[in-house]
């Protein structure tokens, strides 16, 4: 049990989670290097293929509408039964 407790304490002792604010001679150089490593340049504008589905949507709706209108016209002008 004691060994288990000791192991647990030692393993926790290896972690120093609140470490941070150390100011020494290396700090300025490290921070300068850090900043320079992550210089950002904007990506060039890119032509993105239409993945939004707009074109397909428009096509289907337009086709659907046209088919319905044509169908309606066929019905309308089909010879009525003689009275």
């Amino acid at each position: 049990m004691r060994r288990l407790l000791l192991t647990a304490i030692l393993s926790f002792a290896a972690a120093t989670p609140a470490s941070a604010c150390l100011n020494d001679a290396t700090l300025k150089g490290s921070e300068r290097e850090f900043r320079s490593q992550y210089q950002t340049t904007p990506p060039a504008p890119t032509a993105t293929p239409d993945t939004s589905g707009y074109s397909r949507e428009i096509l289907f709706r337009g086709l659907g509408g046209t088919v319905l209108i044509v169908g309606a016209m066929v019905l309308l002008w089909r010879r009525s039964p003689s009275v």
Binding site: F12, A15, P17, L22, D24, T40, T48, G65, V67, L68
Partner: protein, 485 residues
């Protein structure tokens, strides 16, 4: 009479279809529909640092700390610097600025060598000399920060196992850190502030044990599983259409400083979620914060402080998850899992962390393309090995140069090391930017969508009307009976 009614209906229908046909004709004259659009990139709101001249976050920074892709000084450097500093101090007036700086180097070096308690008297003595000299405010910043840190490092472990004296010492360290923030709030991208919050969290864990299994160290809930779809921008619509775009230079830096806080209001916030024990006086973190603040704080602590630990790794995972960076979050959980035996002070804590990380990873994997999931672990391990190999090579090079008598303060100390080497930092990619299609670019499409929808509904209504008319006609108009001869 009935026949006349139907004929009138047909007339209306015919007119209606005429209109529809005209509309369809109109559509056919505009078949220059664009098939692709220019995707423009906007700076993300977190490109604007909290303070003027501060560092702004990039996701690549998070990726790099998780995979150890940054240089770390070796123990040989600190030992040699310690030796040289002690020699130099013998020749300096004790209240000179150089002597104060060397005291900082000594204290920090001892901390880096795993002996923070030995650094405490050196820094306390420096503090006394500075006070005797009448120094105040910002002149005491490094003393406050270093003394606070070594006090916390020297005592936190014992405090967590119930040592009351150690807990008081750690609290004293916390007070020094708070003073360092007071006199220099903009220092080192907010590291001190986050160091203080994390130390508060750990000290609070000694009183409220379930904190470790309910929250990460900035107050993100560890049992909340509905946070995947969020992005780094709090209100996408507002960010896309607001007027702040004019406030940026092409490289994403802020031109109009007056809008700093307005722009930063668009950053997704994290931390202090439901149930965070705000009533604990020790915890000064009382409200959610823009996600880049704790992230930069942790990155700074990881790189400049004690390196990897499970608290930082799991917190980065939770934050990245909350801003939609699932791949980075997955790697953060993987790193936290590998450090799980250092989480808390009971085996149950380590077990909890391991289970939590695996659970989070499973949930992320369900959202990723199936062919990518099996590669994740191998990629992570390869990249971590790459970072660790870099650090090993860096320290080996450093040790050889020190042994050869090179000047520790030479700015070009590592020039030969970097020769013919790819930069260790991950290049900034497109994913750092907010990709969008301008409203103007998609306006023709939206116009077409409306027209085609109108056509569809016109067709539906017209067809239905005619069909109903025909059905009525067939049902009610008596048909001529064939005559029998």
């Amino acid at each position: 009479m009935r026949i006349g009614c139907f004929r009138g209906g047909y007339l209306v229908a015919a007119l209606f279809f005429g209109l529809c046909a005209g509309f369809a004709g109109y559509l056919t004259t505009h078949l220059d529909l664009p098939r692709e659009y220019q995707t423009a990139s906007s700076p993300m709101p977190h490109f604007v640092p909290k303070y003027d001249g501060g560092v702004s976050l990039r996701y690549a920074m998070v990726h790099d700390v998780i995979h150890e892709r940054f240089p770390v000084r070796g123990p040989g450097y600190y030992r040699e610097r310690d030796r040289q500093a002690r020699e130099r101090l013998k020749t300096l007036p004790p209240d000179s600025q150089e002597a104060f700086d060397l005291a900082d180097d000594l204290g920090v070096g001892l901390d880096k060598l795993g002996r923070p308690a030995d650094g405490v008297p050196i820094l306390r003595e420096k503090f006394e000399r500075q006070q005797k000299k009448g120094l105040t405010g910002r002149d005491l910043y490094t003393t406050y920060a270093n003394l606070g840190t070594v006090l916390i490092h020297a005592n936190l472990k014992a405090a967590l196992t119930g040592d009351k004296a150690a807990k008081e010492q750690a609290k004293e360290g916390l007070k020094f850190i708070r003073k360092s923030i007071e006199v220099n709030p903009e220092a080192h991208f907010g590291r001190e502030e986050w160091q203080a919050h994390i130390a508060e969290y750990l000290l609070a864990c000694t009183d409220t044990f379930d904190l470790l299994t309910k929250f990460d160290c900035v107050g993100d809930r560890l049992d909340d599983d509905a946070r995947w779809s969020r992005s780094a921008v709090r209100m996408d619509f507002q960010w896309e259409h607001n007027t702040f775009k004019q406030d940026f230079s092409p490289d994403g830096t802020l031109k109009n400083r007056e809008h700093r806080s307005d722009i930063r209001d668009n950053i997704r916030t994290v931390g202090v979620e439901t149930g965070w024990p705000k009533s604990l006086t020790l915890l000064t973190l009382q409200k959610p914060v823009p996600f880049d603040e704790p992230t930069l704080g942790i990155i700074g602590m990881w790189r400049q402080g004690g390196g990897a630990n499970p608290y930082f790794a799991v917190t980065l995972g939770e934050i990245m998850l909350r801003v939609g960076q699932r791949y980075i979050a997955w790697t953060a959980y993987e790193r936290a899992s590998s450090l799980a035996d250092k989480y808390g002070w009971k085996p149950e804590h380590a077990t909890f962390l391991l289970q939590h990380c695996r659970g989070r990873q499973r949930e992320i994997e369900q959202q990723l393309p199936a062919n990518e999931v099996p590669k994740l672990r191998a990629q992570f391990e390869a990249e971590l090995a790459h970072g660790q190999q870099f650090q090993h090579d860096y320290q080996e090079f450093e040790a050889k140069k020190i042994a050869a008598g090179a000047d520790l303060h030479d700015e070009h100390f590592f020039d030969d090391f970097y020769k013919n080497r790819e930069p260790i930092a991950t290049p900034i990619g497109e994913s750092e930017w907010y990709a969008r299609v301008d409203r103007e670019a998609i306006a023709p499409l939206q116009d077409w969508t409306k027209k085609s929808t109108a056509l569809l509904w016109g067709g539906i209504v017209g067809f239905t009307l005619i069909l109903l008319g025909r059905i009525a006609e067939w049902s009610f108009i008596p048909r001529a009976q064939p005559t029998k001869n």
